[in-house]
Amino acid sequence: MTQRITIDPITRLEGHGKIEIFLDDKGDVANTYFQIPELRGFERFCVGRPVEEMPLLTNRICGVCPEAHHMAAAKAADAVYHVDPPRTAKMLRELLYSAFYVTDHATHFYALAGPDFVMGPDAPVAERNILGVIHKVGLEIGGKVINARKAGHTVIEMIGGRKVHPCTSIPGGLTKGITNEQRDEILKLGQWAVEFGQFSLKLFNDIVLGNKAYVDLILGDIYTHRTYYMGMVDENNNTNFYDGKVRVVGPDGAELVKYAPQDYTQHIAEHVEPWTYLKFPYLKAVGWKGFTDGKDSGVYCATPLSRLNAADGMATPLAQEEYEKFYKTLGGKPVHQRLATHWARLIELLYAAERWVELASDPEIASDNFHTKPTEIPTEGVGIVEAPRGTLTHHYTTDERGVLTKVNLIVGTTNNYAPISMSIEKAARSLIKKGTVVTEPMLNMVEMAFRSYDPCFGCATHSLPGQMPLQVTIRNADGEPIEVLKQFC
């Protein structure tokens, strides 16, 4: 008899994701499928609109990282108009983006990933959340997380005009700058964010690295894949979230390619599977060899861990120290253990906070020179930023009036669709063996495999009931449910 296990964390908040685990008649894992129903018609919706609307429209695609879409769209629109924004505009955009990174990474660590470690993967589900973390670590931690989010949102509003969905980027720069008073406040908030980043890394050090069981879990084979890694780097090959070239390194850490945004189609292709609408991007130079890792497989990964692996270091001093410690502790570069992504995320958080301070301290940040008027005839352009959950590519083509004729997006999580699927399958195979009873902690361990990627299934829809519980259905060969587990109280 074939059994089917479904992990169904359906949420209308950020789209659907469903994991199906098929067991064979011996009770071993036969196959796994990770399905993401796609929202339809975004390209059709955009075509015929002026390209300058894209920074506003695209940040409605996703309720999770509107700031990332705003930035990628702004950069693509700059490229369409062949206009180079002034230094102040670029710095302001990156400053907003750095503040966004701090809030986003903080939320992921404390509300989502942290509970698995702070409470333990075996802890009752009712305790494995941010409330459990507050209960265990202390009330002050809740305040710190809320403060980090508030600080980030304040900066986003000052530069982006709105707290969550920024609206100030236009082709050639921004519609407004900041005052000296705002600069002073942003700087003060950034200094607090640096302390928060250091605090978070110390917490990770004490709770996770100080616990042998967790270190073994991170280093174990269950969550390990040797793939290619992608991340944006600056001219010194240091990680950068807002601008630079996209660098890809192999499982051995050697550079495969470093490409400028406009060249992405030369390097990335997409594979289609019959069981999902979403495509699987892969490296053209290596080729699609199926859901497998290794140097001969074109599967690549684009996550905080990938960005650290693809770079030579971090551009700020405290993050660089942590970067060195990371590789020293985990046995050198590249690190293939997916659960180390949580640690990498906190190093990125500290980098973003330091970069925030660095940019806010620049004498030109409050300058009035925040826009270059486009004068060229618009044609085609590509904008790439590093979204928190992967390299984000926007590609627009317009007519001579700047009206869109073609739109193509490769969003963060799409890059990771193949590696996520592989990680789920590997975790399931390792944990669900002949005769084992599928329990909630075990399913959480499988879910941890995909949670490390911080996946986003992109839409800002909020239809109630908003979030549904995790549901596990085991079915027999006839499709009859023989057992239903629900991961809520």
Partner: protein, 156 residues
Amino acid sequence: MKTLVIGLGNPILGDDGVGWAVAESLQATVNRPPSTVIETASLGGLSLMERMLGYDRVVLVDSMETGQSPAGCVRVFPLASLPDPGPGHSASAHDTSLMTALKTAEQIGAAIPRRVDVVAIEAQNVYDFGEELSPPVAAAVPVAVEKVLELLKEDP
């Protein structure tokens, strides 16, 4: 007393934008209580909780997908009556549930609203991008506006 009405959803994703349509219609309504703040948002979980802090009372207007009611059906209920998937953070890939977010805020001493009600409209299509509401959902907008106004007349 400070009251906030938030129209929730994605204004470019078909019927998901109905919360926005109701909020915009309320803005244009002359007999709404003058002290009530009306906003639109595409938020959930922690961010939505943060938007609600400092208000005594909040009304959320949102689309609903139960599959058990005809499209355009309007329901009114307290937030607390929704099943809270919050205990398992796996309920969402990126956020906590609104209820967990509110509990978190309460624990750290933030001023959370004393009363939160929901006015929900059953949606027909929330998978195709577009700015239009489907006809039954569009027809439900004035009904939902009335429900919000009735709620606001009740004691907090």
